[in-house]
């Protein structure tokens, strides 16, 4: 009797669970367009509209919980500064309409909506945020980004339907960066990051979801110490003193030959002489290069493989009257220029902007 009871209990449990499991079967999501400004002001609330095409491919797909992901700078604190909603004309079932609000996923894995599904469609035990970063990456940003997820508060009746809709994001833009690449994900929690090519919307990165990395967003009015996430990361190889400076100040450029890739020494470790190769970027888009390894650009050894050169930019670069300097680009060279140390891990100069807080 006990076994029969258990069997009945199992069947009863499955009869409840199976519809939920198969509720979210095949479908296609396609991001057709992202309407995002190319430039915003720090502190402004930016509105982004993500246009989405959905097709159930007539496979009997029924109710779906919409999953939306967004790649944003961590400093924007999207959890507290973003709202998301979805809209469409689809209204096959008034109880499960094609429009509604979405909730930020706080990563509580005891809640079924927060349980991420990986590339094989199975629950991974991770949060959506973790799996989106792992599988989708962070684009051109050098770091300091996070994927944040939102799920629809209600089910959407998506049975045998094909319709267009929009996801609208409102998010307050932070002031810690001058540029960043944002990205948007659309899918549903039943399939998550399940990957399969093809379907009726082959343009989508997968049948089960789509993701769109936008062009780098320019942010004006950011803090003086703000960094461009679309550029190379800050480096410990070179520093500029004092900590706060404008290019009218006397600045001291320090080069630490011990700070190469991942903490290894640079190629100028234990070099006998080190010279600064510097480029002044001007506000009119022109530049002045001083890279002739002359006495003026020769650095002084001030510590254990630490070199320093103090200069006054207006004279050092002979900046024409009326021109303003916006950035200094640096690399470091030995006496004959056969060794050049740039930003470790990147084949680019180390870039510094004015900082004056």
């Amino acid at each position: 009797m006990k076994k029969s009871y258990k069997l009945l209990k199992t069947i009863a449990a499955l009869s409840v669970a199976l519809p939920l499991i198969f509720l979210f079967v095949t479908s296609c999501f396609l991001i057709t367009e992202v309407d995002q400004p190319s430039s915003v002001s720090a502190g402004e609330t930016m509105t982004v509209t993500v246009n989405v095409a959905f097709d159930s491919e007539n496979n009997g797909a029924s109710d779906k919980i919409l999953l939306f992901g967004m790649l944003v700078p961590k400093s924007w604190d999207a959890a507290n500064n973003a709202t998301v909603r979805y809209d469409s004309d689809h209204n096959a079932n008034p109880d499960q309409p094609g429009s509604g609000t979405m909730t930020f996923d706080d990563g509580d894995l005891t809640f079924f909506k927060s349980q991420s599904r990986g590339a094989d469609g199975n629950i991974t035990g991770n949060t959506w945020s973790q799996d989106m970063e792992e599988i989708l990456g962070t684009g051109e940003n050098y770091g300091e980004m996070e994927w944040v997820a939102f799920y629809s508060d209600n089910f959407i009746d998506a049975s045998n339907a094909a319709f267009d809709g929009t996801v609208t994001v409102q998010i307050k833009v932070g002031d810690q960066h001058t540029g960043t690449q944002l990205a948007y994900f659309i899918g549903n929690i039943g399939d998550g990051l399940k990957f399969e090519e093809g379907g009726s919307t082959p343009e989508a990165s997968s049948k089960w979801y789509d993701v769109d990395f936008t062009d780098c967003l320019s942010i004006t009015g950011a803090a003086a110490s703000a960094t461009d996430l679309c550029g190379p990361p800050p480096s410990l190889t070179a520093t500029i003193l004092p900590e706060n400076y404008l290019f009218d100040d006397i600045i001291s450029i320090r080069f630490d030959a011990k700070e190469g890739i991942e903490g290894a020494n640079t190629e100028l470790f234990n070099a006998g002489e080190v010279f600064v190769c510097a480029t002044a970027m001007l506000s009119d888009g022109t530049s002045i290069v001083k890279c002739d390894r002359d006495d003026a650009s020769k650095m002084t050894l001030i510590g254990d493989n630490i070199w320093e050169l103090s200069l006054w930019s207006p004279d050092y670069f002979d900046i024409p009257e009326g021109k303003l300097m916006t950035e200094i680009h640096l690399n470091f060279q030995n006496a004959d220029g056969s060794i050049v140390v740039k930003n470790p891990g990147f084949d680019e100069d180390i870039i510094y902007s004015q900082v004056c807080n």
Partner: protein, 153 residues
């Protein structure tokens, strides 16, 4: 010769431990007004930034500041940083100079047309100190303070 009258108000208070009834004494010269002549050519011999001596790190050999009797000034070069030489504002190597207060100056102001650039006197100009001129100012970011020390030649 432009003469500047400076009142040095140094009161030396004698605090004697022997008793409260001791008389206070003030040196006679403490209340004397001195005339200080700062006109002439001043040669830069020291630069520091936020207390760090940059003298060996920035070249300023033979750099001079002329403070002329007629109220004009001249810098010997535009290749050494000076608060009147800015890419982000007025830039001039000559013009007029004046104290903010002829009797008790705390600033020297350099001007050229509508542009006025104040610098602070780091030390009062004593009667016995008319061979050293120390001024402090900002070149760019206001958080940075520079001290230039000149000697009269």
């Amino acid at each position: 010769m432009k003469k500047i009258i400076l009142a040095a108000r140094f009161i030396f208070i004698g605090l004697f431990l022997m008793g409260c009834e001791e008389e206070l004494t003030v040196r006679q010269d403490a209340l004397t007004a001195y005339a200080v002549d700062i006109n002439g050519t001043w040669q830069l011999f020291s630069i520091s930034r936020n207390g760090e001596d940059l003298s060996g790190k920035i070249s300023f050999t033979d750099y001079t500041l002329d403070l002329n009797n007629d109220g004009t000034f001249n810098l010997s070069s535009s290749k050494v940083p000076f608060p009147t030489l800015r890419t982000s504002g007025a830039s001039f190597i000559s013009g007029n100079w004046a104290f903010n207060d002829d009797f008790q100056p705390t600033e020297i102001q350099f001007s050229n047309g509508p542009s006025i650039v104040p610098t602070r006197l780091d030390q009062p100009l004593f009667g016995s100190n008319n061979t050293t001129l120390s001024i402090t100012f900002s070149l760019g970011c206001a958080t940075n303070t520079y001290l230039y020390q000149f000697k009269k030649i």
